[in-house]
Amino acid sequence: MSTGTTTAVRRPGPLGDERGGSGAAARGPFDWKWVVIGACVAFTVYIAMIPLGFLLWQSFRTPQTAAVEAVFTLANYAAAYGSGDTWRLFWTSIRFAAGAAVFAFVLGTVLAWMNERTNTPFKSVFFALSLIPLVIPSILFTVSWILLASPQIGIVNLVLQGWLGLEEPLVDIYSLPGMIWVDGLHYSPMAFLLMSAAFRAMDPSLEESATMSGANIFQVAWRVTLRLTWPAIVATMLILFVRSIESFEVPALLGLPVGIEVFTSAIYQAVHRYPSQVGLASAYAMSLLAITTVGVYFTSTLSRRGSKYATMTGKGFRPRLIDLGSWRWAAAAFFILYFLLIVVLPFAVLLWSSLQRFYAVPSMEALQNLTLDPYRFILSYPNLGRTVLNSLLLSFGAATVVMLVASVVCWIVVKTNYPGRWLLDNLASLPIVFPGLVLGLSIMIFYLNVDIGIYGTIWIMLIAYITRFMPYGLRYSTTSMLQIHKELEESAAMCGASWSTTFRRVVLPLLKPGLVAGWIYVMIVSIRELSTSILLYSPDTQVVSVVIWELWENGQYVELSALGVLFILSLFMLVMAAQWVGRKYGIRE
């Protein structure tokens, strides 16, 4: 409310209004409402529009060198789509992403079903453990699987060859199935979490009535449970597909050495060629963007329609568990095997490798040569302190900015009827369609062309992280915001609180569970972030994940392993600490 109309009614009234004399005091304190809202909206629009605009623009430009100005061209698209290679690239990308998505989905769904619906022993322990894989960065997971399953040095291969007496290595991680295996395994915890939520939300009486009709466990699972969770299944599949087609570490580390290219690795190659083929990379990026956009679009329309399915009653119920009989021990064994593959083996192999002077497969002889040298190397690595500080500053900063801006944006979207708020919601969610590498590329192009002095500084990386993770922050805070009854704010207004007071003292505290959860999530994904950082870092602004990448490029495997072990352990402690803080302050029932 503008002060003008307020003062208009502030005549001394019959209530004994004694303030009439002091005209200055009559004006209330300045309300920051429109400043805060304006700043948040402008920021959201800015970070959402920049990447898309410049990516599009650059895809029509020739490469700029010192000698030649960039001009308009369609040659990038011609080069990108004119040859049969592109169709092979497209086809490989699709096969890789679909394969990884299906593999992750099947694995995650079976585990989720066993965990939510059956009497598998120790499953509460398992649910707690299921969060651990999330702290292992993709690049370390990929490296550890190279150490486990490469044809030459892979431990699994060597062990199996020894047992079976084979000449040839049994598995080859440098192949499309190998890539699918590693990527699918890495995304399976996500499928597990999404499908667990879906199973938990389903009314078990629907399954029970199928059991009463005489169906056995598998008939119930196949004909009732799966069919009813259909919207969740399709949504999960689409998310996994989008994630896989965006993933950079696996294709770069496993695919490039043997010439299997997908879109992400092709973009990276185009940028790192000399002269740098930014236009070509942009042209590739446009089709990657098109694929992810279609995926995200279907996911969102699906989740909108999903509410029509009456399976989610929202009523509290205690699911009746399915008795697996003696199969439950097989189920428990499956859990253990899964945990071995996804956490224990990768971490163990990194730990082993980190204790060697030069990488050697485990043997009695190698056991003699254990050393802490790689750790000494890492701890004396030039600029290590700076690198760690960068990672921490970036992840804390990104998480804080994202959650604060997201809380205002989702307040506008959920709580007001301002015109155009749906557009704001879509804009803030837009970066979700940007694969990390593409986002890094477009931000790089923009700040190269528009020099405001942040290219090569830590600020460009902060902007990139904020852009990339804003949609996730928004989802977390929106879920929380929807649960805040409108009258809780209105009663504050009736008590005389201004908008900013209400926001600070009522909305933010009530939003805290969502904010804390979102903050933890954004912090963790930022600290692991590689695919965006890899195009934006400079020697001064290295982050931990980039150092790991460089060590890999240099072939310093044992040192990489040492850094990886330290990284995973500190991430793990960070998550534990964050969760403890979250439990302590975040959620009050």
């Binding site: 109309t5 009614v9 209530l15 303030r19 209330g28 008590c495």
Partner: protein, 380 residues
Amino acid sequence: MLKVDGLCTEYPNDRGEIVRAAQDVSFTVAEGQLFTLLGPSGCGKTTTLRSIAGLERPRAGEISVNGQLVYSSSTGVFVAPNRRGFGMVFQSYAIWPHMTVFENAAFPLQVGDSGSIQRAGSATRTRLTRGDIRERVMRVLTAVHLDALTDREATRLSGGQQQRLALARALVMEPALLLLDEPLSNLDAKLREQMRFELKRLQRELKITTVYVTHDQSEALALSRQIAVMHEGRILQIGSPRDIYERPANQFVADFVGNTNFIDGYVVSAGPAGAGHYRCLRTEIGEVRVTSEHDLRPDERVAISIRPEDVELSETRPAGDNVWEGRVDQKVFLGEAIDFQVRVGPRTLLSRRHPTLRTKIGDAIFVQLNPDKCVVLRAA
């Protein structure tokens, strides 16, 4: 004290259609009175209340309190809700779950120091001291019997306690006007009755001008000095509880406030208005003699409304007019009363009697309608 004049409020619904929630609503509330907006859900009563609060922006009209405008479409005045300094109790109570009982009640004193136009207690911009706040909060918490629970988390209160805390929070800043949005609807029946007396006591003691919104007619009749019955965004009748109940202005009011029997008919003999002048109506059950406050024209279509407690029953034929012989169709025993459905010609009349009347179902019974209690309404 409160004056609402020609208020119109609209808002778009989920599908973007304009809902005309309040149309040409006008009323005044005198100092210290409790005024009730009564009506079925969707009648616009809550919208009207929220417009007074400033939580909805009306499209047209004028609202003033103590002669000061808080909204006027003609001069463009709109005082933000946090500057109006009214107390409000919401239907959901809107108790902040992250604060204790004390913190909830102290909030208005901590934040609302500036510029509210109607606040007697904070005439200057200087903040209240901690001690002042404590004293005033404790005073109001004592008044609602929550003084023993000051440090309890607000979420650990029972429904009745939350309701009283919401009231305390609305009262702590000593507002000029108290707005209550269905404050008792979330309580169970027993508690509701208790809180009804409690509310009436507080309102009387503090002499605070109050606008009360409810859909419960017995609540409205029990609490209010004046009632406005609303339907489809408009006020149909304003009057004292007795007026509304005994002399409803139209069929909707008669039907919504209490139970009633409608008997359709038309006027046979016309005459001037007033008591003692009997007119004759021809109805579905025969000729009925009534008195009327309205001038009636011959052959005008009308409906008679008569409350169940005014439909007299007896097993022997009573003396006087308006007597019919009927047959008992149904009986419902309610404890303190018994409801009879009596078939008279083509109509079934509802009658509420003392339980001593024990006529069996299917037996004959005599029905008598007191002409003074028959309210003649123009047919809709």
